[in-house]
Subunit: 528 residues, 2 copies
């Protein structure tokens, strides 16, 4: 043994643990130099102050002129006004009471029976959080079986409806959309309603909305007299909405422990409110991302939880990190093209997939191992004398960390004592705060998403174009090339080509004949 | 309209479509210069010749002295010997016949009832393919409900067993391990067997092995008289085993169309056997990866299928691409650290997650859009006049492609006519061949995985260490620090610290007290 080994010394020097949470973070395998923290002291201090201002109700999202209030959700006492505090508490109480009524049969489904299933309709921030929670905390004791519509794929929605099967009438449908204008969710809502109607069932008694006050969805839900409406607050962004009604309502309906989840987040918030960098796990995380990626996302973040229940955590973090940090301009308007790419699934599964590249291939990443010390809440099978499946899980994590380190690949290791709603809440809070800090270090607005609009606008333009192409085809009888159609309706021939191909694939009245080149493909509308 | 627009011209110039497959690939939004193909003609030609040799039975995996035969699986006529041809055909026939017997009730479960569920136990190449197929081709008409153990997480396995619930006795269990020595799968097998035993059920009548001849698993299955054994061939690697018994057996048991799946792959193989670069979709793909990443993986591959059923495709490609291409040395022994990082989920869902970063943030990727022209096999709901959910899906794809292009982000678009087993087979073949070509361009062995061993060895060392730590603790009564234990058993104190923490979290006889620093933490074995 060598107790003077530089790694053991380095490990101890930077090891941070929160005794009461059973949490620890090990940054010793990121190769920052000894003076790194000194050099980062001033920006880190600014980041702490920005976070404090945000928590106090500052307009932390200047482009949208909004407060950023997700930390208040788990500690309403922090909210800057009594009105906000009251609406957080009232919403949470209403959710818990509603779930109790659903579970107890005080509220019955449109069929007059108790609810058996839950269909959540949302996308992005209105789906990823509920999906993570539903999968991570699933148990046999769940009150409802949970399903999702998280896209506008008609085949995908049919698949989910087939899985719900004859339980449709006993399915509570929660439609989530902050603006109420998200087309994927609107389409999902219509498809779900049509499914009820096809079965001869009134849908309104099974439908619940989670949306901003007076949004289009709010109006529809009111007009159609849906079972219930829950508010989304203006000061909550989609990717940090998991502790608002967006996350809590599905969670409570599934029968999960909402209070522990919030308590875990509140506890991590509290720990990471310190401006002593070395005691602040979220700041350490942000600083390690900064160091590893040279402050410009030069390395991808590979997230490797050794825990099946955390399979969706990397997908959740993809949104939280990439949508928050992937920005063109900084707060001074300078072009910065910031961001950190995030991917991963779970260990040790991924060791049999891409860990080959992590160890031997292009060194363009840092790994984050997430370790759960207690392998299982239930007794384990002894697979060899004195050895249990969870020992292998731990062995593979440590072994892979070592194998990467040997090859100069950097990693962070986060350890939690066990897995439950409290610890999941704490992990989410840790990353929310790390993202906030990193946003400050990079001097960007981590709370808007201006780039998302462009894709939506371009998509709307395609749908408009589709209408024009269809009208033009309908008005002509001879085969038309995409160039001819484009000329007639003043559009781009390439876009016309794809729209026409799409129409021909889905509309039996439109006939497509391939040519040697796309400009020679023809399309004909059959009036017969 | 501007028909002379450079984009329409460029699109047409490089657009490749396979009329009979309804397949096309659009590489016009990768910004390679006009002379790129000329410059790559010689290496591309070499890659075509290497592929032809591989298909003819060359030792294409020199480190392991193995042939690489996955292309023979869908076209046994290609196999280099009659013996290989015969074992491919015999295995396939045996799988189809076995599935028929299971579905028809000729073979009954240990309970004497027909089988209702399927539990596949495997990891990496023995899980990702079956998981992709099971999810992508699921329908209400499936013969069996499919579940997976794909890790050694005891809690994760308990969760799956809880989902199987009272169907356990009617669950066919397929254990897949080529070497038969993969610990995760061995543990999964033992956990599943113990579950049967707990219910008072004989497990052997429900257990099937897919493994190499005379492997440890083969011996166990023989000794325990399992229901059936199917072979894994020496000349098939895990990440290309989806068309061997590994993929076909679960697929056939689920009731899916094995023949179409193989036919789709065979058709794509055939098309991409041409050495005319511009007509070879797999070569175009490899060349675009090469161009975008400057031949050294400088850009990540973001895979965005606009199709819910292809959600797992990016995870499948993560293994196929990263384990094949992520290599330290080239074939001449030169250090190259090759590879391409792969991530993605599905559109338009991901537009509400990380597409913000793709458009505005760090430009370290190229996107691959996968478009399915026919939105659904079933009639769609009209959500607006003349507009269907699939029109939105198509609109979002085209819109996002445009939004990325506007900002100088490169993309490839692959279009398939509809989604089914045939097209899934074709897509997989396309990527298998692109990976093979890229391996040749990079002059690496794309068919071994030397880096995986290191993590396994390090993990084994941790388990051995755990035994030593436990023995030492057991032999002492006073609290011990990890340094003291490490000194006594001649081990690294940091590893001892983590092993001891893990043991304390899982073994109620081991008591842990935290100190100010890890070196002051103590561990005590309680003999009471």
């Amino acid at each position: 043994m060598n107790t003077t080994s530089s790694l053991w010394a380095r490990f101890q020097k930077y090891f941070l643990h929160y005794e009461d949470l059973g949490f620890s973070i090990d940054i010793s395998r990121i190769d920052f130099p000894e003076d790194f923290f000194t050099g980062m002291a001033i920006p880190a201090d600014s980041a702490c102050r920005a976070m404090a201002q945000l928590e106090n109700g500052a307009i932390a999202n200047p482009d949208e002129n909004r407060m950023v209030g997700h930390y208040w959700l788990r500690n309403p006492g922090l909210a800057p006004t009594e009105a906000i505090r009251d609406e957080i508490n009232a919403t949470r109480d209403a959710i818990v009471a509603f779930a109790k009524e659903v579970h107890g049969g005080t509220i019955l489904a449109t069929t007059g029976r108790t609810f058996s299933d839950l269909l959540v309709i949302g996308i992005g921030g209105s789906a990823l959080g509920p999906q993570l929670v539903a999968d991570a905390l699933w148990s046999q004791a769940d009150a409802l079986r949970v399903h999702f519509f998280d896209n506008t794929d008609p085949d995908g929605m049919d698949k989910v409806l087939a899985q719900i099967g004859s339980n449709l009438g006993q399915t509570l449908v929660v439609v989530i959309s902050k603006s109420g204008g998200t087309k994927e969710s609107r389409n999902g809502m219509l498809v779900a309603q049509a499914a009820f109607t096809r079965e001869g069932l009134a849908f309104a008694p099974n439908f619940v909305a989670v949306t901003g006050k007076d949004s289009d969805l709010d109006k529809v839900a009111t007009a159609e007299v849906w079972l219930r409406r829950f508010p989304m607050f203006d000061w909550i962004g989609g990717r940090t909405s998991i502790m608002s009604a967006v996350g809590l309502l599905p969670m409570a309906l599934q029968g999960l422990d909402v209070s522990s989840f919030l308590a875990g987040a509140a506890a991590m918030d509290e720990k990471t409110r310190t401006d002593d960098i070395r005691l602040n796990a979220a700041m350490l995380l942000a600083l390690m991302w900064w160091y590893a990626g040279q402050g410009r996302g030069a390395k991808d973040m590979v997230v490797l939880p050794y825990k099946d229940r955390l399979l969706l955590f990397s997908r959740y973090l993809q949104q939280l990190v990439m949508e928050s940090l992937g920005k063109e301009f900084d707060l001074d308007g300078k072009t910065v093209n910031q961001g950190i790419a995030v991917y991963g699934n779970k260990g040790s599964t991924d060791q049999h997939a891409y860990v080959q590249q992590l160890r031997d291939g292009v060194n363009n990443f840092f790994a984050t191992f997430i370790e759960v010390r207690k392998s299982s809440p239930s007794p384990q099978l002894e697979v060899e004398a004195g050895v249990y499946p969870g020992d292998y899980l731990q062995g593979f994590l440590r072994g892979t960390r070592t194998a990467l380190h040997e090859k100069g690949r950097e990693s962070i290791t986060i350890s939690i004592p066990e897995f439950n709603a409290f610890q999941l809440g704490a992990l989410i809070a840790l990353y929310e705060r790390a993202v906030g800090f990193y946003g400050s270090l990079a001097n960007i607005n981590a709370y808007h998403q201006p780039g998302v609009e462009a894709g939506k606008k371009a998509a709307t333009a395609i749908l408009t174009l589709q209408g024009h192409v269809l009208l033009h085809m309908h008005a002509t009888t001879s085969p038309q090339t995409s160039e001819e159609i484009a000329l007639a309706i003043n559009a781009d021939p390439e876009e016309v080509f794809h729209v026409a191909r799409h129409l021909a694939a889905n509309n039996p009245k439109i006939h497509h004949v391939s040519g040697r080149s796309p400009s020679l493909d023809t399309f004909t509308f059959s009036h017969s």
